[in-house]
Structures are given as structure tokens and as C-alpha cells.
């Protein structure tokens, strides 16, 4: 056994260290994986890995020996690398998604280890890389553009890339509707599955790679059983995964000539098999199943079996998966994850018996302590079920969250790394999950026992698990929480055990079972009845007795209802009905309704940050728990809870997916600020500055900005810099302005911060004036466009600040020339000097011209300089004009002007209201107008228009007054 000793080299320290267990920041935890698709090149010389993070995605090439990055294929942010495969030592086949379509591409490895990517001329996809035939692939080529039907070719790789199919071997087959192919190396056959919609059946067929007619192997009728072809064992025998004639899904032979099932190849006594694999020589390689919530593989090939044994001995807790190996089997890629491990890749050197940690799936989670779960065996009446208990460390609210899974039929609770569980465990909550009857993976009988057991056996199973856990652990509080069926189950548990559950969180739930059968003209009725009955059971009159809507008065615990208006799995109507009856009866109910989150699938991670934060806040308030003392929390954990409250505030503030309530937003920003959340302080500063959600108070605003800046929040520095620069509320102080603007850039080198400092350098007094720096910083074209959002806002900001620089820059002619040159280049002006002609000033409105379908035209309502605010009418005030450039007007000439509006309000305070750059042809109609609305301050308005050479070409004054009705 000595030779089995494994040398373990951990190049990275991994996820777990001695960090204190404390709340994990949702914005760190709930994100997309950064590394994936790690693969070895055929010889094992290289490793490729996909990397994706904000604004950057790439396929990285590493040297296996040194683990050093050799080169990267940068993938544009509009594209997505779906998958890739090494074809040989120098070529990688890539599937790249662009505008909803998958496109084939080839990556050619150059001698300098760079990779050149080339898209295939033809559309289609790789069926198989034909390992036994070097440089040849089996490629399915689209018959025509956008058609989902294909011709099959055995073709040289380079010819396929170039679209030269003339000399390729076409595999003739007679079906027009085949859209997927599996190549069987053993028999050199192509397998496919065709779905017959009319008869609701799936037909498994094959054709020889030499061509010919498709031969039907088997037809699976809708109510039958699982039949998944794995591999041909010989010309007449197919290995299939099936539960025909057995309780569990097992691996079995199938005689394709006589259409008969043969001997069982492998079965697990307790679990369904989820997959099986064969080697090219027809030898069984492995089978997979889920045991205690973790994917387990049983290997039948000697080398892999030995490796599996070795790994299991070395890493008692972890589950390793073989992710790939070199052709000579000398090098392996291994992957491991578990309930407290988000996933990491290793490289195994067979000859040296050396295993090295290579990449973390979530590098940003490195050093965070996660919470392992315990797999429990729960005894129920006459069987045993699996459950998983995750316990917190510190903080510990002594609260058990019972979390039934969705489905409920055929869904299996896993014990792999679960971000939601980690979120709640790190915040001090224990979480119990149960694989109740009806869950998948445990055989047909176990699954079918759950059908129609809504509110009955399923909840009894969960309660058995709760009781067993409570016999071993003590909890002061217990709440139920779940999504989809889990939402229903959470409510039913609290209804059935009113003394045990202190609160309920039901998300995207089903609360009215009869409603499932009459939700719409297309999603219910006879055609869908069978489908529903496989889950809910036969329709019966007693459905109301197990529907929370109709037994609402049996619910005693306060409830948080979460739903989305566009959910078409558990329609919003379920939740709305439940809320209606609960509200009517005066039951304590809180709600969190999204507009567009479907069946709980948020489009952005921020949706999950928000949802979980709302749940956390609900739990804390409802159970009267205390959030951990901020002085006892680490900075990261303080920020974690602060960010929770800030996320809730964001939901109320921005109104992008929930109802807007800026006063509530401010109250949650205040909660976050109590935890020293820098962004919350900034947003409070903003709210008090603008009087949104709080009474306008500039003193408070500046205080919040300063606090935010002291906590290192760049936008706060930038805003303070602006206020000092412009003398906005703060006394103008160029030194302080520079200090703050530079501090902002030091923290965040963003385009926006650069343009703001650029403005400073153009407008500052001589001791700070620096035109070169100004132009350098304002030139957004030189900024990093990958930060596109910020770049766009910086560009907009440039439009706002350049008019101020044009109007106010107090510099010498030579220096101003530099600014002029920059403005001319940036706005592509061909004429600088101009005069205004055909001026119209006053109040205008848009006159739609529907009859000839022309765009709306602006028409004069009044030429008076006094403008009345009249909420009922859509009006604009300002000027309309044409420009008369100096010299001869040429077609294509482009004139650029700078304009700014000032308001002197009734208290005599004068301030810049708006500034903008204008550009257009001399033949165009130019408008500088503002919409008259209640939000515009009344007072004296002054409009100035400048040419780029600092000449004031026009000024106009208006008086804005309230209408007297």
C-alpha cells in the first residue's frame, strides 16, 4: 500500500481557514462562478479554463507544469462561450453564443502559445471529434440559414472551418426532422431521439455512420418509464438506463433486434442511477447516483477505481469527480465540492502521485468559513428518508428554518454547496431540508408515494425530520420557509403545527390547489389534467381542505409572501388570493411582490440580494431577534448586514422590480448607516441634498457625504469635491476640491471621476489650472470602455461640463485653443463661429401630425417671456432658431454650440440648472427648451448660448410663474 501514498500540494490556501464565522456578504456570496470548464489538452501539456467576471470573460491557457497563464482568448461581452473541446494538441472547438444563436468556431494554438479564433463559415455543430480518426470530425451542418435541420458530414477540421464540404463524406439519412445526434464509437452508429408530438411519445433511432435508413430501436410512450440509451455494446445490444420492470433506474442491456430488455449490468440497492459511461472499447467506465445529497461515481476501470480509492482515503469528507484526463492517462483534472466547499479544481500527476490545487470556482470566497451540513437518516412510519441539517456557529439565533424543497415530485434536495443555505447559516439560522416521499432519486415507489400527498404525507415526513432534529438540538424559535411547492408546504406545516412555527415565508407558492386546474384556457383543462394529476393526484372536492386560501383561518403565524406578477408556474393569483383572505381577516401578512422575476428567477444577482435581505429582516423583526452588535463584527460582516439593509432600500428607491417608496428607502439606508455602510451614508447624503425621501437639509447632506467619504466611498469624495469646486453650499475651496476629487480617483479610477477632476483643472484658478491634465482627463475616448456603464455616464457628464468650461474658462488664448481643439475634435465640429437667425422665443407645444404620419412638430403657443406652470398642458419654454455659420454653408457642415440655463429662485438664490452641448447642421431647426412642470422652480430663468470660441451668441430671459386658476 506504500505506493498509494498521495503527495498533496496545496498551491492555494482554499476556501477554509481560521476566519471567524460571521455573516457573509450577499454581494460576495451570491454571484456567478468565476472559473469553470477546466480541461486538459490531449497530451496534458496545457490546461484551459473559462474565466468570467464583471466586464471580462476569457478562455485561459495554462502551462500544466508551472500553472502559469500562457495566453487568453478574450470573449466579447456580447458573446458567451457555451462549451469547448480539445480536438487535438493544437486545435480547440468552441461553441460561442451570439444574439441567441450558437456558432461554431475553432481556436488554433500558435507556436507562441497564443490562440487565434476563427468562426466556421457554415452554421452547425460538432457531433463528435472522432478520436480514432485524427483531424476528422463529425459535423452537423445546417441545411439552410435558420433551419433547425442538418446534414451530417465526416470532414477534415480545417475544411469544416473554411466551409469546404465538397470532399467531405456525407452521411445520408432520410429523416428531415432530426436535430440531435449522439455518435457511438463502438458500433460507429449515430443515435437520436425524436419526439412525436401528436402521439406524445419519444422514438429512439439509429443509423450507421456509413449512411442509410434510420432504424427505430424503441418507442417510449408518455406514461411509460425512463429509457436512456448509453452505449451500444455490440451490433444488437444497447446499454440503457431504465426503470422498466424495476423500482430503481438501473443500467441494463437492451436487444435492439428483438426489442427486449436483457440482463442487468449494474443497479444500486437504494438509488436511481443518473448516468453511466463506457470507454471507446465498450468497457463500462462508471455509473453515477446521488447518495446523501452528493453525486457519487462508481468506477469500473482499474486506474480510475484506484484513484477514487486513493482520493477517498486522503480526503475523507470531500467528494472528488474526475473532470478529464490526458490521452496517456498520466494527468487528471479533478473537481471537488461539498456543502461547505463552493468548488475547486485540482491537477493529479499519476506518476508522481501528486495532487495540486489549481483553481477555485469562486476565488473571491477564499478564506471564508462556510457551514457544513449533516446528512441525517430520518425514520418515518415504515421507511427511512434523508435530510440535511446546517447549523450556524456565531452568531446563533437558536432558530430552526424548516425549508421544504419545490416540485414536489421528482425533485431531489442536494447537499452540494448551496448559497441560500450559507446566507442564512452565516446569519445565525439553522436550516433543515428533507427529501420527503415524492423526491427523485430514490426509485419509483418512493416517488409515487408522494403523488397527491400535498398537505399530508409530505408534511408528515418533514415533521418527522423536525421531531428527530429537535430531539437532538434545542431551538428557541422555528419558522418554515420555501419556494414553489416549498412555499405551499411552509404554510401547511405552520397550519398543521400552529404551536411550533412562529413565522412563515412563502415564496412563489401554490396556495389554491383547484386553481391549478383552471388557471387559464391554455394551461389548464383536459389537455393538462394528466400532467397535474401526476403531481397533485386526481381532482377531488377536498382539495379546498388542503388549500391555504380556503383554510386561511387555521394559520396562526405571521407570514411573508413573496411572488412575482409574471410567474406562470405558480401564478401570482395564488399569492394574491391568499393575501386577500389573510388581509380581510386581519392576519399579520407582509408582502414582497416583484414585477418581473418569474418563478423566483431574478434576472440579476441583485434580485437575490434583495429577496434574501427582506427575508432576513422579516425574521429578525418577527422573532424579535437582535442583529449582532456592530462592535463585535468584523468589517466584512458589518458590511454584510449593512449591505442587506442597503439592498432593501435600493428596492424601494429605484423601483426597478418592486414598488417605489423613497421614504421607506431612506429608513432602510438609515439602518444600513448604523452599521457604517458607506454607500448608505452616500445615499442619505443624496436624499437630504435633493429632498427625496427626507426633508431637504444640506447640513445633514454634507455630514453624510463626509461620513461616507471617511469610510472610503469614492462617489462621496467626488461629490464633496464638486461641492467645494462649485461653492455649492460649501464655501468654494479649490484646495479641498482637489483633495477630494483626487481621493475619489485614488479609490476608483472611473471615467466619471476622471471627467470631474478634468473639469477642475480647466476651471480652477491659476495655481491649480492645468489645461493639459484637463483635456487628458476629459477625453473619454481614451478611457476604458469596458466599464461601459460608467463610461456612458462620463460621456453624458462631459456634455454637461464642457458648456461650463466654454463659458467660464478664464485662460489665455493659447491655453483656450487647446480646449477649443479638444471640443472641435470631440464633437466633430466643422464650423466654430456662428450667429443665430430666425429666433422664436416663448412657450411651445408638440403638435402631432397623425394624418400624414409625420413626426410631431413644435409649435409656438405664446411669445411672451412669462411662462405659466399649468399641469394640465404639456408645454415647453425656451428658444427655437437656426444657426448661421461664418463663411459659406456647406452640406455636411456641423456646428456645435454650448448652452446653459440658470435659475434665480424667489429667495434670490442663483444656480446653474442645466447645461448641454448642441450639435447639428445649419439647415436643422435648433431647440433649447425645458418642459414646464411642477418640479421646475419658479423664478427668473436665463438661457445662454455660446459658440465654442467662448462668444456669447445669445441670451434670453424668462419668468416662470404658477398658473392662477
Amino acid at each position: 500500500m506504500k505506493n498509494l501514498k498521495l503527495v498533496l500540494i496545496l498551491l492555494l490556501c482554499g476556501y477554509i481557514n481560521d476566519a471567524i464565522s460571521e455573516p457573509i456578504d450577499a454581494q460576495v456570496l451570491l454571484t456567478s462562478p468565476k472559473h469553470g470548464m477546466v480541461k486538459l489538452s490531449p497530451t496534458g501539456e496545457f490546461i484551459t479554463a473559462y474565466y468570467k467576471n464583471e466586464g471580462k470573460q476569457s478562455l485561459d491557457l495554462f502551462d500544466r507544469k508551472t500553472k502559469k497563464l500562457l495566453s487568453s482568448i478574450d470573449v466579447d461581452h456580447l458573446l458567451k462561450l457555451e462549451n469547448y473541446v480539445w480536438l487535438n494538441q493544437t486545435q480547440i472547438y468552441l461553441t460561442i453564443r451570439e444574439l441567441g444563436k450558437s456558432k461554431p468556431a475553432i481556436g488554433n494554438l500558435n507556436p507562441d502559445n497564443s490562440i487565434t479564433v476563427e468562426f466556421f463559415e457554415a452554421q452547425g455543430f460538432l457531433v463528435n471529434q472522432l478520436p480514432s480518426q485524427p483531424n476528422t470530425i463529425l459535423f452537423a451542418k445546417s441545411r439552410s440559414r435558420n433551419a433547425p435541420y442538418f446534414d451530417l458530414f465526416k470532414i477534415d477540421i480545417n475544411a469544416a472551418v473554411e466551409g469546404k464540404f465538397e470532399h467531405a463524406i456525407k452521411i445520408n439519412h432520410n429523416s428531415k426532422k432530426i436535430t440531435n445526434y449522439i455518435y457511438d464509437e463502438v458500433t460507429q452508429r449515430i443515435l437520436t431521439a425524436e419526439y412525436d408530438e401528436i402521439n406524445s411519445r419519444t422514438i429512439i433511432k439509429y443509423v450507421s455512420v456509413k449512411g442509410g435508413k434510420w432504424k427505430t430501436i424503441f418507442t417510449i410512450n408518455k406514461s411509460n418509464y425512463i429509457f436512456t440509451p448509453v452505449s451500444f455494446l455490440n451490433d444488437s445490444t444497447l446499454a440503457v438506463l431504465t426503470n422498466n420492470g424495476s423500482d430503481k433506474v438501473l443500467l441494463r442491456k437492451f436487444d435492439v433486434i428483438n426489442n427486449a430488455f436483457g440482463e442487468i449490468i449494474f443497479q444500486h440497492p437504494k438509488y436511481d442511477l443518473s448516468s453511466a459511461g463506457y470507454l471507446q472499447n465498450g468497457e463500462l467506465h462508471s455509473v453515477a447516483y446521488t447518495e446523501d445529497g452528493l453525486l457519487k461515481k462508481k468506477y469500473f476501470v482499474k486506474a480510475e477505481r484506484a484513484l477514487d480509492l486513493l482520493l477517498n482515503r486522503t480526503f475523507a469528507v470531500e467528494t472528488f469527480y474526475i473532470g478529464g484526463k490526458s490521452v496517456d492517462s498520466n494527468y487528471y483534472i479533478l473537481f471537488t465540492d461539498s456543502s461547505d466547499n463552493p468548488g475547486e479544481y485540482f491537477i493529479y500527476d499519476v506518476n508522481k502521485k501528486k495532487i495540486e490545487r489549481f483553481l477555485l470556482v469562486y476565488p473571491e470566497l477564499e478564506g471564508i468559513r462556510f457551514y457544513p451540513s449533516k446528512a441525517l437518516k430520518i425514520k418515518t412510519n415504515n421507511t427511512q428518508i434523508e435530510a440535511f441539517l446546517t447549523l450556524p456557529k456565531s452568531p446563533d439565533h437558536s432558530t430552526l428554518l424548516v425549508m421544504p424543497h419545490g416540485g414536489p415530485i421528482g425533485v431531489q434536495e442536494s447537499d452540494q454547496f448551496n448559497k441560500q443555505i450559507q446566507y442564512f447559516a452565516s446569519r445565525g439560522f439553522s436550516v433543515l431540508r428533507v427529501n420527503f416521499h415524492g423526491s427523485g432519486g430514490f426509485g419509483k415507489a418512493f416517488l409515487e408515494r408522494g403523488v397527491g400527498q400535498f398537505g399530508r404525507l409530505i408534511e408528515e415526513d418533514i415533521t418527522a425530520a423536525v421531531n428527530q432534529v429537535k430531539s437532538e438540538y434545542k431551538f428557541d424559535h422555528m419558522c418554515s420557509i420555501g419556494s414553489s411547492y416549498g412555499g405551499y408546504s411552509a404554510v401547511m406545516l405552520a397550519i398543521k403545527h400552529p404551536d411550533d412555527y412562529e413565522c412563515v415565508i412563502g415564496a412563489y407558492g401554490v396556495y389554491d390547489i383547484p386553481l391549478i386546474f383552471n388557471i387559464s384556457n391554455y394551461r389548464s383543462g383536459e389537455s393538462r389534467k394528466d400532467l397535474f394529476e401526476k403531481v397533485v393526484g386526481k381532482f377531488h372536492d377536498e382539495f379546498n381542505q388542503i388549500s391555504p386560501v380556503y383554510i386561511f383561518d387555521q394559520l396562526k403565524a405571521p407570514i411573508l409572501l413573496i411572488a412575482s406578477h409574471d410567474d406562470d408556474v405558480a401564478d401570482f393569483e395564488h399569492t394574491n388570493r391568499f393575501q386577500y383572505v389573510l388581509d380581510y381577516s386581519g392576519h399579520p401578512v407582509e408582502k414582497l411582490y416583484y414585477y418581473k422575476s418569474g418563478h423566483g428567477a431574478h434576472s440579476y444577482w441583485s434580485g437575490y440580494w434583495h429577496q434574501y435581505a427582506v427575508v432576513y429582516d422579516f425574521l429578525i423583526r418577527t422573532l424579535d431577534l437582535n442583529i449582532p452588535d456592530k462592535d463585535k463584527l468584523s468589517e466584512a460582516s458589518k458590511n454584510a448586514i449593512g449591505n442587506d439593509y442597503a439592498s432593501i432600500a435600493d428596492g424601494y428607491y429605484y423601483d426597478n422590480n418592486t414598488g417605489k417608496d423613497i421614504f421607506k428607502a431612506v429608513s432602510f439606508y438609515e439602518k444600513a448607516a448604523k452599521l457604517d455602510n458607506p454607500r448608505a451614508f452616500y445615499n442619505l447624503g443624496f436624499s437630504y441634498y435633493h429632498g427625496t425621501g427626507a426633508e431637504k437639509d444640506l447640513e445633514k447632506s454634507v455630514g453624510f457625504y463626509k461620513k461616507s467619504a471617511s469610510l472610503g466611498f469614492a462617489p462621496a469624495y467626488a461629490e464633496l469635491g464638486r461641492m467645494y469646486m462649485e461653492g455649492d453650499h460649501l464655501e468654494q475651496d479649490w484646495a479641498k476640491a482637489l483633495h477630494n476629487l483626487k481621493a475619489a480617483i485614488k479609490i476608483d479610477d472611473s471615467s466619471f471621476n476622471k471627467t470631474r477632476l478634468g473639469k477642475f483643472y480647466c476651471l480652477a484658478p491659476s495655481e491649480y489650472l492645468d489645461i493639459d491634465s484637463c483635456i487628458e482627463l476629459l477625453d473619454t475616448a481614451k478611457h476604458n470602455k469596458n466599464l461601459s456603464k460608467d463610461w456612458g455616464s462620463a460621456k453624458t457628464y462631459l456634455d454637461e461640463i464642457l458648456p461650463i468650461i466654454v463659458a467660464d474658462a478664464n485662460v489665455g488664448a493659447a491655453e483656450y485653443n487647446e480646449i477649443l481643439e479638444f471640443a472641435v475634435k470631440t464633437y466633430r465640429a466643422t464650423k466654430v463661429k456662428f450667429k443665430i437667425k430666425h429666433l422664436k422665443s416663448g412657450t411651445f407645444h408638440y403638435q402631432s401630425n397623425i394624418t400624414n404620419n409625420k413626426r410631431s412638430e413644435l409649435e409656438t403657443v405664446s411669445e411672451e417671456s412669462t411662462v405659466f406652470i399649468n399641469a394640465a398642458a404639456e408645454r415647453y419654454f425656451g428658444i427655437r432658431f437656426k444657426v448661421n455659420p461664418e463663411g459659406v454653408d456647406m452640406i455636411g457642415d456641423r456646428v456645435v454650440a454650448a448652452a446653459r440655463w440658470f435659475i434665480t429662485s424667489l429667495d434670490g438664490h442663483r444656480q446653474l440648472y442645466k447645461s448641454m452641448m448642441l450639435a447639428g447642421s445649419p439647415s436643422s431647426q435648433w431647440n433649447v427648451i425645458l418642459e414646464v412642470n411642477e418640479e421646475l422652480p419658479v423664478g427668473d430663468w436665463k438661457l445662454e448660448v455660446y459658440s465654442l470660441d467662448q462668444q456669447l451668441v445669445h441670451k434670453q430671459e424668462f419668468k416662470l410663474v404658477k398658473s392662477v386658476d
Binding site: 389548464s524 380556503y550 393569483e573
Partner: protein, 187 residues
């Protein structure tokens, strides 16, 4: 995101004259309009959730009806009209002067108007897909009874007091009757 449940191709009228019928145009009621329904009339309540403005909804039944309203704008709204009792079918939706949807699967678009009650037939949901010649629409009649009830309580309280609301959409639904039994709808 709500997935596309049923897509119909938008048809284009060859000419306005091609649309020949003798349908009656009806106007939505206001809450203050006291309609005497009697034995042969009931109220139709239909919710509309559309991604674009609609020109008209065409019903066939005891009398052919065109629900036309300047209020059928994109977004969410309701139409409440009085109709003669009987079985009706939503036959056609006119999007504008030239494009329309015609439903051949009439069994999916039937509803019954019962006398003396508000017959809520569901929410007609339409999402236009594509533009011009290649355009189609995802359509469905969805049971959103509780929302319809809340709408009536807010906008038509008098009408709701005078007339019981009944579900008349796809399938059978006991929800309104349950609320009446529990006295959760004021009568």
C-alpha cells in the same frame, strides 16, 4: 419571464371592406350607471393586459358584439359592459386598421354570460412578437379573479354591491362563492 404560451400569426386585412359583420359596438359602463339587468342581461368583466394598444375585441354570441374603446391601451385595464345572456366566443382581436388575430380554437375562447351578475371571464393577455409581416402574438385567457375583484372594489364599488360577481372563465372556480360565504365581499 412569462413564456409564450400560444402564438398566433397576425393576419392582415386585404381591405377594410373584408370585415363584414353586423356587430354592435358597446361602450364600457361607469360605476354610476345604474343598469337594469333583468333576466336576460348580465355584466361582462374582462381584464386586458396587452403589450400594445388594441382597436377592438369581437365577440360572437346571442348578438355579435364589438368591444371598442379608446381605453384599450397597452398596459393593464378592464372592460365592464352589459350583454344579453348566453354563450359568447372571443372570435377576433383587431390591433389596428389592418392587422387582426382570429381564433379558430373556439373551445378555448368560450364563456357564458349569466343574468343579473358580473361575469368575470378572465384576463385577456397579449404580447406582440416581432413587427410587420412576420409578427405574431402570444395570447391567453388567464384567471386573475382576485385582481379583478380588487379592481371592482376600487373602481366599481356600487356596481359590485348591486351585483354578485361570478367566475365565467376557463374551468370552474369557487373562489368568489367562497368569499361570499365568508362575507369577504360586501353585498
Amino acid at each position: 419571464m412569462r413564456y409564450i404560451r400560444f402564438i398566433v400569426l397576425l393576419l392582415v386585412l386585404s381591405s377594410i371592406a373584408a370585415e363584414v359583420n353586423s356587430a354592435t359596438k358597446v361602450k364600457p359602463l361607469t360605476d354610476s350607471e345604474q343598469k337594469l339587468l333583468g333576466d336576460n342581461k348580465g355584466l361582462l368583466l374582462i381584464g386586458l393586459e396587452t403589450s400594445r394598444d388594441l382597436k377592438s375585441i369581437h365577440l360572437s354570441g346571442p348578438k355579435n358584439i364589438i368591444l371598442t374603446s379608446e381605453h384599450i391601451k397597452s398596459g393593464s385595464q378592464y372592460l365592464l359592459v352589459d350583454l344579453k345572456v348566453g354563450i359568447y366566443t372571443i372570435k377576433k382581436i383587431r390591433l389596428d386598421n389592418v392587422r387582426y388575430l382570429k381564433f379558430k380554437d373556439t373551445e378555448n375562447w368560450n364563456f357564458s354570460i349569466k343574468p343579473g351578475v358580473i361575469n368575470y371571464v378572465g384576463h385577456f393577455e397579449l404580447v406582440q412578437i416581432g413587427f410587420f409581416a412576420s409578427s405574431g402574438a402570444a395570447v391567453e385567457l388567464v384567471n386573475r379573479s382576485s385582481e379583478a375583484l380588487q379592481f371592482l372594489q376600487l373602481e366599481y364599488p356600487s356596481t359590485l354591491k348591486r351585483n354578485r360577481i361570478k367566475y365565467a372563465g376557463p374551468g370552474e372556480d369557487d373562489f368568489f362563492d367562497f368569499l361570499y360565504r365568508k362575507k369577504m365581499i360586501a353585498e
